[in-house]
């Protein structure tokens, strides 16, 4: 059975590709600017290998798919130790269970802040890309880390939107307005999508997985039905 489910790249090969892609992209732009070689464009393409592509649920296991289905994470159903709907827990946070993933997001925002502080007039990395990266990553980070704190997420999304549109407008000029608005819509879309889906934590054989599904109850019922079929 194919499930329309998103498995976040929180561990293993998908996390590796996500980290290489984002850190490589962030550092690559800087090295490229200093050396003049054009190579930083390679990194964003690696994101494909961390992108979720749904999941398959068969009689014995849940298979999480990434990167065109080339990367598969197999979770035997009888090895599942815990299922939590993180967005329903009073103190549910992603950071507690996925420290490497959380650290990656913090690192990226730190990179962007450094870019913002880079010296030089009309520094396009600092004035344009940094607000973009800071705004988008901060909002996504808050959505993932504080799934129940809706007010904080909406407030941060509003501040991020204003920063994303106004900072380049003031420091570069009106030509940044249109792309700023486009990326702003992406932020709004991300907030709306994540607030309408439920974040599910799965622990199996000591390994934690993070999933997003439209209805937590439906996902639990599916797991239960399949697990029952093979119950002792």
């Amino acid at each position: 059975m194919r499930l329309k489910l998103s498995a976040f790249p929180v561990r293993g090969a998908p996390l590796f590709f996500l980290a290489v892609s984002l850190i490589g992209g962030a550092l690559g732009v800087l090295i490229q600017a200093a050396k003049g070689e054009n190579f930083a464009w390679v990194f964003p393409y690696l994101l494909v290998f961390s992108a979720p592509l749904g999941a398959e649920l068969n009689g014995k296991e849940l298979v999480l798919l990434h990167g065109f289905g080339l990367i598969r994470e197999r979770i035997p159903l009888d090895s599942i130790e815990e299922v939590s709907i993180l967005s329903r827990l009073e103190h549910g946070t992603v950071a507690r269970h996925f420290r490497a993933y959380a650290a990656l997001w913090v690192l990226l925002v730190a990179f962007a802040v450094v870019y913002l502080l880079l010296p030089g007039e009309k520094n396009p990395i600092g004035a344009y890309f940094a607000p973009l990266v800071i705004s988008m990553y901060t909002v996504l980070f808050l959505i993932l880390m504080l799934p129940r704190k809706r007010r904080i997420v909406y407030l941060s999304a509003f501040i991020a939107l204003a920063f994303l549109v106004l900072y380049p407008l003031v420091f570069i000029g009106p030509e940044t307005l249109l792309p700023g608005v486009v990326f702003g819509f992406f932020i709004l879309w991300a907030v709306r999508t994540f607030q309408s889906e439920e974040l599910i934590l799965l622990v199996a054989d000591g390994k934690s997985y993070l999933l997003a599904y439209r209805d937590g109850n439906e996902f639990l019922n599916l797991l239960r039905r399949v697990a029952n079929a093979q119950a002792p």
Partner: protein, 130 residues
């Protein structure tokens, strides 16, 4: 009310208290494969028992941890939304409690299986809710 078979329960509680599978096998004089199989079967049974409780009372499942044997539910009682915390107690089966109405023997059990490090109600609720 579900109770795990005696042998399976013994293996499960030893694992819940933090023992490694290989140590459990040695202590009970059985193979590691037998320990692994017992743990898998125990988890499937506990999941099913907690889900069955949620279904019976029309509660939403918030969290089920078959490793330590507890679950968190959200439900409506007399029109009010309440939290329900359930624990599997060896030899007794599943016991459920509303809100923070958790008795001392549950705190003791939570301490034994490593859900909390100090016998405090607030600490237990926070551990279950995070």
């Amino acid at each position: 009310m579900l109770k795990l078979p005696e042998g399976m329960e013994r293996v499960w509680i030893m694992r819940a208290k933090g023992m490694r599978e290989v140590d459990i096998a040695e202590a009970l004089g059985i193979s590691r494969q037998a320990v692994n199989k017992a743990l898998k079967d125990a988890r499937v049974k506990l999941f099913e028992a907690f889900f069955a409780i949620a279904e019976t009372f029309s509660w939403d499942v918030v969290r089920v941890n078959a490793e330590k044997g507890f679950a968190v539910f959200s439900g409506k009682v007399l029109g009010k939304r309440v939290r329900v915390y359930a624990f599997y107690l060896p030899g007794k089966g599943i016991k459920a409690f509303f809100g923070e109405d958790v008795p001392d023997y549950i705190l003791q059990h939570a301490l034994e299986v490593g859900i909390i490090k100090k016998p405090e109600k607030e600490g237990l609720i926070k551990a279950l809710e995070s």
